[in-house]
Symmetry: C2
């Protein structure tokens, strides 16, 4: 039991301890923090207090004063585990150094500004939800053969734009671009008419690997530091006109949003679950020795309209991924592609089998043909100016809950 | 006339002055250099001598001691121009400080190790050669409708992998992966059987832009610092199986090679030429006010086989680009995507109208159906282990030649 009061059903129980980067009005320098209840442990201050002297050298302790998590992550899995244990001990021990210095070491989340948690090297987006891929295939291709021939053989993915990944709370400007309206053969130019969200999670690479080497699925826990919620905002009309033959480009690169808190893989480990049965059996390099390759993470999408009425429009779960993140990692590196600490690997839209669990407006409104009705009676096919989209994600419950908080953004 | 002897037809005349990052056995710290003839001006030493005191503050002069060009580039176009003028003056004046201290300030290129010139934020690959896109369309789609409907309306592009961009001279490991052999419906796993090069150039972004803003084609010279030769190594069999519907991924991300010398846009300006007539006329945001949007840069591809015999297998030219680099830049940012100094924007394979000018083995061997004969009589459809591919590029001639040197890599 922590000595700190933890609000009921807090995402940030003592079993979570996610990492983020924050600043305050009093101290504007972005630095590393760990969320607990409605507070943030200022890790730079905690380090100055000597909290981590047993596991970190003086040079290593400076990682908590950095404006990104990358240097901390680079210390490796053993250190991640040691720091976690120290924090859990300090938060449980009523005689701890942290408690004695809580006034300096703890900051109310309400008083903090959150920043991008990591400096992203490369960002990759997968397409690993079979229900999502099937929905898209039914809509745009052949309902009888919704999945393309390669889909069950490999986790399809593509490179995304790292520069435009922004932290939760950043407003999203509706992108302009070319689109081809139905029935004409010349594109027109203007703001996207089919702006959408994509409900995703993403893992953050925890270890550099050398060009020419590969990572096996069994090594996932060593190579993945943690996970974030991820909104891969998409302009469907721009994307549809531009994407042949080289894939999505401007329909995606105007913005993607991440949650400020990175939940560690270790905190999520108790929530491992089986995924879908993979048929046909993947090639050996994709064999995941872990019988529980997925995570039971509840995911919701809320749409708050300009009248400030909020509707939960989707309830999904990360367990619906067909390709596990360990398989994504193995596939990404099987050609020798090198990874860098901070690389972001997004899941692709996570839809479940039922309509209530679909992860994009494209699916929820079936390509715009079947508008959604919001709580105040207004209708939506795609996003309108002033709409706010908020994802939440959590595993477990009560004082064992391990949550992500939220990732939110408002369309300008 | 420079006081330094410049070898005849050197790529590195006084009209070029390209930037790179180098180190030597005596001083292993990578730092900024400028190529002149067969020498390198050690810009860190030149700065210490006071060479740039007239145009750079003390803090600014430290950019030349950095291991990447990014900090120098970030100083902006006016500084690029001033430093260029100072160097041309110093190299022409027989009483210059640089000449008096040549023993310290100049390093023989033969004694230097070249490094990655820039830290790349994001790397984008376009597909802007009409002859290349037509060849690929004829081979894989419809000879009568080789270009897809969007191709003449926008410069098609996709995001590439930045982590695996390597400097010239780095060996290339043949990637493993899935491919679908002809006539079967299950993929097999193993080394790529269709390893190829792609003859490209790339420009390097010279100015940060904010998310939500766009750059017009007319602003190209302010936003582009310089250009490199670029080999976008491609595993055609891996790419063909994986690329639907989200584009190239592992078929590209195992490696791409850049030349170590970045030739500035200013040095290339005298070689501007008209491009193809664009029909239909592009949308207004793609209108390039410059009547000479392309560059007359000769490009050659040499293949050196394991018997050490070299054959020039292609002679192309950057003037064959249909979409100009200024248009690429405008298109990339029209949706509000932000740019960072050091971003790499590659042209896509540059093929000309004649077979002798095609920029990939895929085209030169027409999908493997028509093997090439090398100078020693051996045949090639795709690259074999031990093959070395070298691109060269240059504009102008004699003591006005502005060249890139080479980008080279050997297949392991």
């Amino acid at each position: 039991m922590p000595w700190l009061p933890i609000p009921a059903d807090s995402d940030f129980s003592i079993h979570n301890l996610p990492y983020g980067v924050f600043s305050t009005a009093q101290r504007t320098q972005p630095r590393v923090g760990v969320a607990i209840g409605d507070q943030i442990i200022d890790m730079a201050v905690a380090a100055q207090l000597g909290t981590f002297d047993t596991c970190l050298t003086k040079a290593q302790r400076s990682v908590f004063s950095q404006p990104y998590l990358n240097d901390f992550i680079r210390l490796g899995r053993t250190i991640w585990q040691q720091v976690r244990r120290v924090l859990q001990t300090e938060l449980s021990d009523p005689a701890s150094r942290l408690k004695a210095n809580a006034q300096h070491a703890l900051v109310a989340q309400a008083d903090a500004t959150m920043h991008m948690p990591v400096q992203i090297g490369d960002y990759t987006d997968f397409y690993s939800s079979i229900d999502h891929a099937s929905n898209v295939g039914k809509m745009f291709r052949d309902p009888a053969n919704a999945l393309l021939p390669n889909w069950r053989h490999l986790p399809v993915g593509y490179h995304g734009r790292a520069s435009s990944v922004v932290v939760s709370g950043t407003s999203i400007r509706r992108p302009q671009g070319q689109r081809l309206p139905k029935g004409v053969d010349q594109p027109v130019f203007g703001p996207s008419q089919r702006l959408d969200f994509e409900l995703e999670t993403a893992f953050i690479v925890g270890k550099d690997t050398a060009l020419g080497t590969s990572v096996t699925p069994g090594d996932f826990d060593e190579h993945a530091f943690g996970m974030v919620l991820f909104n891969d905002w998409s302009a469907r009309d721009i994307q549809q006109w531009e994407y042949v033959p080289l894939g999505p480009f401007l329909g995606k690169s105007f913005a993607s949003s991440v949650s400020p808190w990175v939940v560690t893989i270790e905190a999520l480990a108790p929530f491992r679950v089986a995924g879908y049965v993979q048929e046909p059996e993947p090639l050996p390099y994709l064999h995941d020795p872990n019988p529980l390759p997925n995570f039971d993470i509840n995911l919701t999408v809320e749409l708050t309209d300009p009248a400030d009425v909020t509707t939960v429009i989707s309830r999904s779960n990360q367990r619906f991924l067909y390709w596990s993140q360990a398989q994504q990692l193995a596939h990404h590196t099987i050609n020798g592609c090198n990874l860098r600490v901070g690389d972001l690997m997004a899941s692709g839209t996570i839809s479940g089998p039922d309509r209530s669990s679909w992860g994009s407006l494209l699916e929820l409104s079936w390509g715009g043909a079947e508008p959604l009705t919001l709580a105040d009676g207004s209708k939506r096919t795609f996003l309108e100016d002033g709409d706010t989209v908020t994802f939440r994600g959590w595993a477990g419950e009560g004082d064992h809950r391990v949550g992500f908080g939220e990732v939110t953004g408002t369309v300008l």
